[in-house]
Amino acid sequence: MVPALTRRPGADGHFTDAERAFVDAATARIIPTDDTGAGAREAGVTQFIESQLAGDFGDAARWYMQGPFKDGTDEQGYQLPLTPAQLYSAAIRAVDQHCRDFFGGRVFADLDAEEQDEVLRGLEAGEPELGDVDSRSFFKMLRANTVEGFLSDPMYGGNQGFVGWRLIGFPGPRYDYTRFIGRHGEPFPLPPVGILGRDGFI
């Protein structure tokens, strides 16, 4: 009667090769490797997203997914009948098809960076029409998951080498700032640490 809320470990093999190539290429544009340093690729964001989609998040295990499904207002929030894993899968298929149609048979991962940015800007603005898939909802989720993968604890597969935390200056979860809270304006002297420790990335 009550739905079981189970945790499904392991992530490898969730994506098809085409899905993995898309996510790797798209997240590398959302958080690029550039003058400010490492980006989504070095952080392991693709691995993070694959693992998230293979688990409770991908299954929408906590979400209310009973019908009827109807289009609502923006204020009423997510109303698609798709779990995140299903949304990724359907959207990637549709975006790659769109790219083949408009970029001479090439899929998203094979476009150059400028072309990829153009496609991503389109998705962000709710274009193009991707059939049943709402491109804005997909972009929003992809963008949010990319930031999560860059800035969450390394034990989830992203933020490897603490590259996200190093970029912004977050020293990781720490138990006790009692000796530092009064030292106003001083840089915090210790390097980042994760939940599993200093080298605690997988």
């Binding site: 009667m1 009550v2 739905p3 809320l5 544009r29 959302i30 958080i31 690029p32 550039d34 003058d35 400010t36 980006g39 409770d56 929408a60 295990a61 906590r62 979400w63 209310y64 997914m65 009973q66 009827p68 609502g72 207002t73 923006d74 204020e75 009423q76 929030g77 997510y78 940015d117 991503l120 962000e124 963008r143 990319t146 930031v147 999560e148 800035l151 969450s152 604890d153 989830y156 996200g164 935390w165 970029l167 912004i168 200056g169 977050f170 979860p173 720490r174 138990y175 006790d176 700032y177 009692t178 530092f180 809270i181 009064g182 106003h184 304006g185 001083e186 840089p187 915090f188 939940i195």
Partner: protein, 587 residues
């Protein structure tokens, strides 16, 4: 048929703050008390232990401690012309589940409502005239006064070990505290938390702007503290993981850190977890509650008889149970008859992000480490020239710097790409946010009832929320946000961004878990569900706790007032109701 279980004296439905307080008060009085909690058992050890609890993705982003919409959610629409649709994932608010309820994962921002807030309608009529209240606004008095509640506010603060400094001690205004607060009978049990650089910058700027800043009251302990129940709390270490997390350090006041070590050892108290109450049962007369029906984790139904039934779940859940159980007349917005589901309100939140030169180390913080001004809250200023009712505090909170959700970026920063990345690198350590935390009055078109279409995991109709912000709140918010902007300017930042709340109320972005109303208290049974002692008008052996009894919402976080009302009701039950079970107020 549900199995019928042996009766108890008192049945508590839900086991968060209000149930823990009542459980202790009534068990201490010798009654046999049982609490039913829909979620799991959890305690500081092992559930909130370091370092696993400091996991932003798991708790703050993936919502591990909150109510799962898959089991139970609401449907929502802005107005009656729309069809309500289910809140499929949490957004605007995060109700708790499990032992301690949302009391486990709050920030600890521990306020008292103002004396005038409890006489909202009378006060406005006296000062500005009845015409000042706009058409459709259904504000009312609470039926209880600040003076009556003062000892109970005090009791809750001493239970929690709240850290702060008095602004009004028995009528004397002090230099350091909030000069606008109601008179308090004694100072806070603990001094304010240490200040962050952000709060000092705010303090200086607010003074320069001509306002009266003070350290905001914090139920995060600034020093070791033993509360009146003998429960020991530890000094806060400013780890920056309060809201959405459990506290590993016994420093945030929660049922677990203030009451449960005593209550769970009482032989006349018992707790059953993973037990979801689906109905309150009435006898044939409809004037007496006989107990409750609940579903356990194996899906089996049980009937638990009790002499006294107390709804002590989250505010919206209490209203949902009354609706499902058919107790009271459901409010009809067309005829304006009925009381159940009436006067739902919320909080009007806006803010100003400031980007400063200084390194603020935002990750060192505590949930209620903040500096605030109360100059523009409640009726602390003359509303005559402005033509709206209500107000807001403005505060700079240094709650922590969890990187996924707690970062500010200057206006115009793209959402992704190199420019986003560079802005993150430049601003994470050198930005803060001023929050404008405003009241929401009640209106005849904002209410709760049962949804005709969607059902929860137990097969019961979801509760339907019909709500939007009104012009009064928009004008209040614009006015106080402009005052926050004055403070932001006086901080002399590199830049700042004003975030007004625009457009209709949305269920999507997080605002606050301060849902109020639906089972409101008052003096008149035609406009309230419970009397001034939180006792149901129609069913005297049924009491309803929580913010669902607020007739409208003031400009403060609700927990301090919820705690005070619970002690107030507990006293009435112990000293009057138990001696002569029946209505405490004649209808």
């Amino acid at each position: 048929m549900p199995t019928k279980l042996p009766p108890v004296d008192v049945l508590l439905v839900g086991f968060g703050w209000t149930a823990a307080i009542l459980g202790e008060e009534l068990a201490q009085a010798g009654l046999e008390v049982l609490a039913l909690e829909r979620g799991q058992f959890r305690d500081t050890v092992p559930d909130f232990a370091m370092p696993q609890i400091q996991d932003e993705l798991r708790y703050a982003v993936r919502h591990e401690m909150f109510q799962e919409p898959a089991r139970q959610t609401i449907t929502f629409r802005n107005n009656h012309a729309q069809t309500a649709l289910p809140m499929r994932r949490l957004g605007s608010f995060n109700p708790g589940t499990g032992v301690g309820g949302a009391g486990v994962h709050w920030n600890g921002q521990h306020w008292r409502f103002l004396p005038n807030d409890f006489r909202q309608r009378s006060h406005v009529e006296e000062r500005y005239g009845a015409d000042f209240i706009p058409e459709g606004m259904t504000i009312q008095d609470w039926g209880v006064t600040y003076e009556e509640l003062e000892p109970h506010f005090d009791r809750f603060e001493y239970l929690c070990g709240t850290s702060g400094v008095a602004g009004n001690l028995n009528g004397e205004i002090t230099a350091q505290g909030n000069p606008f607060e109601g008179p308090r009978s004694r100072d806070y049990p603990n001094p304010p938390l240490e200040r962050s650089l952000g709060t000092l910058l705010f303090d200086k700027a607010a003074r320069e702007a001509g306002f009266h800043p003070f350290p905001a009251p914090a139920s995060n302990t600034s020093r070791p503290y033993r509360n009146p129940l003998g429960v020991q709390m530890g000094k806060c270490t400013y780890c920056g993981y309060c809201e959405w997390f459990g506290c590993a350090n016994y420093s945030k006041s929660t049922p677990q850190t203030t009451i449960l070590p005593v209550l769970l050892n009482r032989s006349n108290f018992s707790l059953r977890t993973n037990c979801n109450v689906t109905r309150i049962k009435l006898d044939r007369s409809g004037k007496r509650a006989t107990g409750a029906i609940y579903v356990d984790s194996s899906g089996e139904e049980h009937e638990q008889p009790a002499d006294l039934v107390i709804l002590s779940a989250y505010a919206t859940h209490n209203v949902h149970l009354l609706l499902l159980s058919g107790i009271g007349e459901v409010y009809d917005p067309k005829t304006r008859s009925g009381t159940l589901g009436r006067n739902y309100a919320y909080q009007m939140v806006s803010g100003v992000d400031v980007f400063v030169e200084e390194n603020l180390n935002p990750f060192m913080g505590a949930g209620a480490l903040g500096q605030a001004i109360d100059d523009f809250n409640g009726d602390n200023f003359d509303h005559g020239p402005h033509g709206f009712i209500g107000g807001a505090y403005v505060a700079l909170w240094t709650t922590g710097g969890r990187p996924i959700l707690q970062h500010q970026l200057p206006q115009g920063t793209p959402e992704w790409g190199s420019a986003w990345k560079q802005a993150m690198a430049e601003n994470y350590l050198r930005s803060a946010s001023l929050s404008v935390h405003g009241s929401v009055m009640s209106y005849n078109d904002a209410h709760l009832d049962l949804d005709p279409t969607y059902r929860d995991a137990y097969g019961d109709p979801l509760m339907r929320l019909t709500f939007d912000f009104h012009d009064n709140e928009r004008r209040m918010s614009r006015f106080v946000t402009a005052r926050a902007e004055e403070i932001a300017r006086a901080m002399r930042p590199r830049s700042y961004t004003v975030n007004q709340r625009q457009g209709p109320y949305s269920i999507v972005p997080y605002q606050t878990t301060h849902n109020t109303g639906g089972a409101v208290m008052g003096d008149d049974p035609s406009t309230s569900v419970v009397n001034r002692y939180l006792q149901h008008w129609d069913v005297p052996n049924l009491f309803v706790m929580g913010a669902c009894v607020f007739p409208q919402n003031a400009g403060y976080n609700p927990t301090g007032t919820v705690g005070a009302l619970t002690y107030w009701a507990a006293e009435a039950i112990k000293t009057r109701y138990l001696k002569n079970p029946g209505p405490l107020v004649d209808a």
